[in-house]
C-alpha cells in the first residue's frame, strides 16, 4: 500500500513546533529517532541470521567455503538458533577435538546427533 497524495500542509503542521527553540527542536528530533530505533535494535539483540553465523565461524578460523557449508547444514537441522559457533565449540570440548577438526568432522557427516542443543 502506497501513501496517498497529499498537498504541502507544512504551515499548518509546523504550528506546534514553532514555539520550540532550536535546541528543543534538536532534542525532539533525536528523541523521536531513538523511539524509532528501539524496537529494531531489540530484534537484532534477540535474533540471528545465516550471515551472522557464518561471520562467527569465519572468526573461529573456518574458511568461507567451510562456513557456508556448516551454516547451511545447521540451518537444515533447524539448530541455528543455538548458535553455530556454540554448537561447534561445545562439541569440540566434549570430543576433545580442535575447533577445525570438529567442523571438518561435521562436514563429513559425523556427530550430528551429539550436538549439545
Amino acid at each position: 500500500m502506497s501513501c496517498v497524495e497529499r498537498p504541502d500542509d507544512f504551515e499548518r503542521r509546523r504550528k506546534k513546533l514553532q514555539g520550540m527553540s532550536d535546541e528543543e527542536l534538536h532534542h525532539q528530533f533525536w528523541s523521536l529517532v531513538e523511539k524509532i530505533v528501539e524496537p529494531v535494535i531489540e530484534e537484532a539483540r534477540s535474533h540471528t541470521t545465516p550471515s551472522i553465523e557464518r561471520s562467527i565461524l569465519l572468526r573461529m578460523g573456518f574458511s568461507s567455503i567451510e562456513a557456508n557449508a556448516l551454516v547451511a547444514k545447521i540451518l537444515e537441522q533447524n539448530l541455528l538458533g543455538h548458535g553455530a559457533g556454540r554448537l561447534i565449540l561445545e562439541l569440540a570440548k566434549a570430543k576433545q577435538l580442535s575447533i577445525h577438526e570438529t567442523g571438518t568432522a561435521l562436514l563429513a557427516g559425523q556427530y550430528w546427533e551429539e550436538l549439545p542443543v
Partner: protein, 731 residues
C-alpha cells in the same frame, strides 16, 4: 615492498607472498591538521602535513612549486573491474592528494549470500574478495610510504553478507566502509528484518576495528527526480542509521554522514544547498560529515561538471565538512577513466587550497532567509519522524511508501518506494536466538551466553581471528581462468616486448579521446566529426560529448575511439634534455652578476614575436632574471650583432632565425660561428639560435652552443645559460 618514483608498480611482486601478508594497522586515519602553516611564500590556515612525493597543481610553478594539502581528507572512487589496473590509478590519485580510496563492488555482489574468493573480473566494480582486498592493502601500504601519508582504504558492508564482509574488512585492515541497512531495504530490496539484524553485527565488528562508517542516505538524492525535495527525509535516514549505530556501541567519531549538495546550476544552488548543509551540520554536530559532489544533475560536459563540483566543495568548506569526496568529471558519460579520477581529486585540492582562510573572513548570517530555511528543513524532518511513529514504526512506514517519495514532506506524491517487511532477498532467514544461544567470538552483538563470562569470549579455544590473525584462512583462487594471474599474462608480455598502447581504464584498452569543432549545424557536424575520427584511424568512434556553439555556426565534440597502434619503446627517439632550473635558482645566480646579452632576429627577417617571448619581462622572458638584454630588432646583419657584443662585452648572443627557405637559417648560424671565430670572440661567447625549425642537434651542427625550437620559454633559455655560465665561471 618499496616503490621507486621512476618505476611502475609491479603487480607480480604484490601478489607474491600474499598468503602471509598482514595489514600493519587498523582503523581510520585523519590528516594531521596544522594551523598557520608556512609553505613557500604563504601561511595557510586550514592545511595539513605536506607530502613527501606529489605532483603539485600546475600553477604552483609560479609559487616555488609548493603543494599545500588541505585539512580535509580527499576521497576518490576507483573501480574498473580489474583491481590490478586500479592499483596504478590509486597510486596516481595519491600523488595528486587523495588519501581515501573507495573501491566500488561489482554489480550484484549485494545479493551474493556469502564471501567471494579469488580475483574474478568485475562489472562496474570489483568482486570484493580476501585476495583482492589484501593485494590492494599491500599496494596501498607501499603507496602511502611513497607519498608519506596514510591512505584510507574503503569499500561496502552491505547486501546479504554484511557481517561476513565486516569480518573480512576487520581482518584485512580496511579503514572505512559504507554500512546502512536502509540502503539494502530501499535500493536492493533485501528483506528489512534481515538487513537490520545483520547491520547490528556488522557495525559491532566495524567499530571494534576502528573502521569509519559512512551511511547511504546520499542515494536518495541520486534517485529522486527533484533531489532538493527529499532533503527532510535525508535527515531522517542519516539519523536512523546514526542512532542505530550508537545503539550498538559505535562511538560518534566513527560515524560519518554521507551527504551531497542536492542541486546544480542553473538551479540557484546556494539557495537550496547551503541551508541544507547548515541544517545537517547543526543537527549532527557530534558526528563526522563526508560530503560527496553532485552526481544527480551531471551531463557529459566535464567542464560543467567541474564547476558544479567546485561549488559543492565551497559548501563543504562553509559547513565544516570532514571528508571531501570527489566525483570524476566524466562520470556522466562513462565508467571513470583514470586520469579523470586525478582530475576530480584536483578539483577538490585546488578549490580547498583556494578557499583556505575563508571562514576567518566571512560568516554565515544569523538571521534572514538562511536561518528561516534551515529551521524549516529541521521542522519538516521532525514531522517526518512523527509520521513514522504514527504509522507504527520504521517497518510499517517503509511498507506504506513513506520513503523516497518525490513530495517535499509533508507533501506526498504517492510514489515512494514500497517494501513488504515479509519479503525481499533473504526473507524468512531471521531466526530467534534460543536461551542457550552462544557466539564464542569477539565483536559480537546481542544475547550471548559466552558474554556472561569474565574472560574474553574466545578464550576457550585460544582466540578468534580478530585476536589471533594466524587463524585467518586464505583462499587464493577458485577459478584459475578468471584470475589476476591469467589477466596479467598480456600486460607482462607487452612489458617484456617494450610495447606501449594508449589507455584510459585498463591495460591495453587503446582508447583515445579527440576534441573536434565542426563549423556546421549539429547533425551534419556530428556525422562529419565521426567521419573525421575514422580518417584519423580511430576504430569504433563514438561521440561522448557534444555542445552546440551556435545552431548554424558549429558544435564541438569529444569523440572516443580505439587507436590500434602498438609503439615499440626501443624504436622511439627520446630527447635527453634535462629539467630546467627553477626561476629562483636562475635569478639567484644571474642577479648579482652583470650578464650582458645581445639579441637579434638576423638576416632579412621581420619576425619579432619569438625573440620577444624569450626576452621580454612581460612575456616571462629572461629579463626578469636580471640578464642585461640588448635587443637589436629584426633583419639585423650578423656583423652588427657581433659589433654590439664587442661594445657591451657580452657573454651571450641570441639570434632568432625564422625564415628557412634555401636553408638560410643554417647559413646564418654557420656565419655567426665563423665570424665570431675570425674575430677571436668565439670562446668567450655563448651562441644560441632559436626558431620554428631549429633543433638542438641542428644548431650544434651549425656551430652554435645550442638551439631552441617551438614551445621554448624564457626559463628554458635562462636555465641553459646559467648552467653554461656556471661551468665557465668554475673553470
Amino acid at each position: 615492498m618499496k616503490l621507486s618514483p621512476n618505476k611502475k608498480l609491479d603487480v607480480s611482486e604484490i601478489l607474491k607472498g600474499l598468503e602471509h601478508y598482514r595489514p600493519r594497522r587498523k582503523g581510520w586515519t585523519w590528516r594531521k591538521k596544522l594551523k598557520d602553516n608556512k609553505i613557500g611564500p604563504f601561511v595557510y590556515k586550514e592545511s595539513s602535513e605536506s607530502l613527501k612525493k606529489s605532483i603539485p597543481l600546475p600553477a604552483a610553478t609560479y609559487f616555488e612549486n609548493i603543494d599545500p594539502q588541505s585539512d580535509l581528507v580527499i576521497t576518490t572512487e576507483i573501480a574498473s573491474g580489474r583491481f590490478e589496473d586500479d592499483l596504478r590509478r590509486m597510486r596516481m590519485a595519491a600523488w595528486h592528494g587523495a588519501d581515501h580510496i573507495m573501491v566500488i563492488r561489482t554489480t550484484g555482489q549485494s545479493h551474493i549470500d556469502g564471501l567471494i574468493e579469488g580475483t574474478p573480473e568485475g562489472i562496474g566494480g570489483i568482486p570484493i574478495s580476501r585476495k583482492q582486498i589484501r593485494a590492494t592493502r599491500k599496494a596501498l601500504d607501499a603507496i602511502e610510504d611513497e607519498v608519506g601519508r596514510a591512505i584510507n582504504f574503503h569499500s561496502y558492508v552491505s547486501g546479504v553478507a554484511g557481517p561476513e564482509i565486516a569480518v573480512l574488512f576487520a581482518e584485512e585492515g580496511v579503514n572505512g566502509a559504507h554500512q546502512d541497512p536502509q540502503y539494502n531495504v530501499l535500493y536492493r530490496n533485501i528483506n528489512m528484518h534481515r538487513s537490520f539484524v545483520d547491520a547490528a553485527e556488522a557495525k559491532t565488528i566495524m567499530k571494534d576495528a576502528g573502521i569509519l562508517q559512512l551511511d547511504g542516505a546520499h542515494n536518495a538524492n541520486a534517485t529522486a527526480k527533484e533531489a532538493w525535495k527529499v532533503t527532510p527525509e535525508l535527515f531522517v535516514q542519516h539519523a536512523i542509521n546514526t542512532a542505530y549505530s550508537n545503539a550498538v556501541g559505535m562511538p560518534n567519531d566513527l560515524i560519518a554522514l554521507s551527504t551531497v549538495p542536492p542541486t546544480a546550476p542553473p538551479a540557484p544552488k546556494m539557495q537550496y544547498d547551503l541551508p541544507y548543509a547548515v541544517a545537517l551540520r547543526e543537527l549532527f554536530a557530534d558526528y563526522k560529515i563526508r560530503a560527496q559532489q553532485n552526481t544527480r544533475y551531471m551531463e557529459s560536459d566535464t567542464m560543467e561538471t567541474t564547476i558544479t563540483h567546485v561549488l559543492d566543495t565551497l559548501i563543504s568548506r562553509m559547513t565544516s565538512t570532514d571528508i571531501q569526496s570527489t566525483i570524476t568529471p566524466d562520470e556522466g558519460r562513462n565508467i571513470p577513466w583514470h586520469y579523470n579520477n586525478v582530475a576530480g581529486v584536483n578539483t577538490a585540492r585546488q578549490t580547498l587550497m583556494g578557499l583556505d582562510g575563508l571562514m576567518e573572513q566571512v560568516e554565515l548570517k544569523k538571521d534572514g532567509s538562511l536561518r528561516e530555511n534551515v529551521r524549516e528543513l529541521k521542522e519538516r524532518a521532525v514531522l517526518f519522524l512523527e509520521e513514522i511513529l504514527q504509522k507504527g514504526g520504521y517497518y510499517t512506514a517503509v511498507e506504506q511508501g513513506q520513503f523516497v517519495d518525490q513530495g517535499y514532506f509533508p507533501e506526498r506524491k504517492g510514489d515512494g518506494i514500497v517494501r513488504d517487511p515479509q519479503s525481499g532477498d533473504g526473507a524468512d532467514t531471521v531466526i530467534a536466538r534460543e536461551a542457550n544461544y552462544g557466539a564464542p567470538v569477539c565483536s559480537h552483538f546481542g544475547n550471548n551466553i559466552y558474554a556472561q563470562n569474565n574472560n574474553k569470549t574466545c578464550d576457550d579455544y585460544g582466540g578468534c581471528t580478530l585476536c589471533d590473525p594466524s587463524k585467518v584462512q586464505y583462499i587464493d583462487e577458485l577459478d584459475a581462468p578468471d584470475s589476476v594471474e591469467k589477466r596479467l599474462e598480456q600486460p607482462l608480455a607487452d612489458q617484456a616486448a617494450g610495447i606501449l598502447r594508449p589507455e584510459v581504464e585498463k591495460h591495453g584498452d587503446s582508447i583515445v579521446c579527440v576534441t573536434l569543432f565542426v563549423p556546421e549545424s549539429p547533425k551534419v557536424a556530428e556525422a562529419a566529426a565521426l567521419e573525421m575520427a575514422r580518417h584519423m584511424g580511430l576504430k569504433n568512434p563514438e561521440v561522448i560529448s557534444r555542445r552546440v556553439m551556435h545552431p548554424a555556426e558549429g558544435s564541438v565534440f569529444e569523440i572516443k575511439g580505439i587507436l590500434d597502434v602498438a609503439i615499440n619503446i626501443e624504436k622511439l627517439q627520446i630527447p635527453t634534455g634535462e629539467e630546467p632550473l627553477s626561476d629562483k635558482a636562475i635569478e639567484d645566480w644571474v642577479r648579482p652578476r652583470n650578464v650582458q646579452v645581445v639579441a637579434a632576429t638576423v638576416g632579412e627577417d621581420e619576425h619579432s614575436v619569438g625573440l620577444h617571448e624569450i626576452l621580454d619581462i612581460k612575456h616571462g622572458g629572461i629579463e626578469k632574471y636580471g640578464f642585461q638584454c640588448h635587443d637589436l630588432g629584426t633583419s639585423v646583419p650578423i656583423e652588427r650583432v657581433l659589433d654590439m657584443a664587442e661594445e657591451t662585452n657580452a657573454q651571450v648572443v641570441l639570434i632568432s632565425t625564422i625564415v628557412t627557405h634555401s636553408d638560410i637559417h643554417k647559413q646564418h648560424m654557420l656565419h655567426l660561428h665563423e665570424l665570431a671565430k675570425q674575430r677571436g670572440m668565439r670562446k668567450k661567447l655563448i651562441l644560441v639560435a632559436g626558431g620554428g625549425q631549429i633543433t638542438e642537434q641542428l644548431a650544434r651542427q651549425c656551430g652554435m652552443n645550442t638551439g631552441f625550437g617551438h614551445g621554448t620559454t624564457g626559463r628554458d633559455v635562462g636555465s641553459f645559460l646559467v648552467r653554461v655560465l656556471r661551468e665557465l665561471e668554475a673553470e
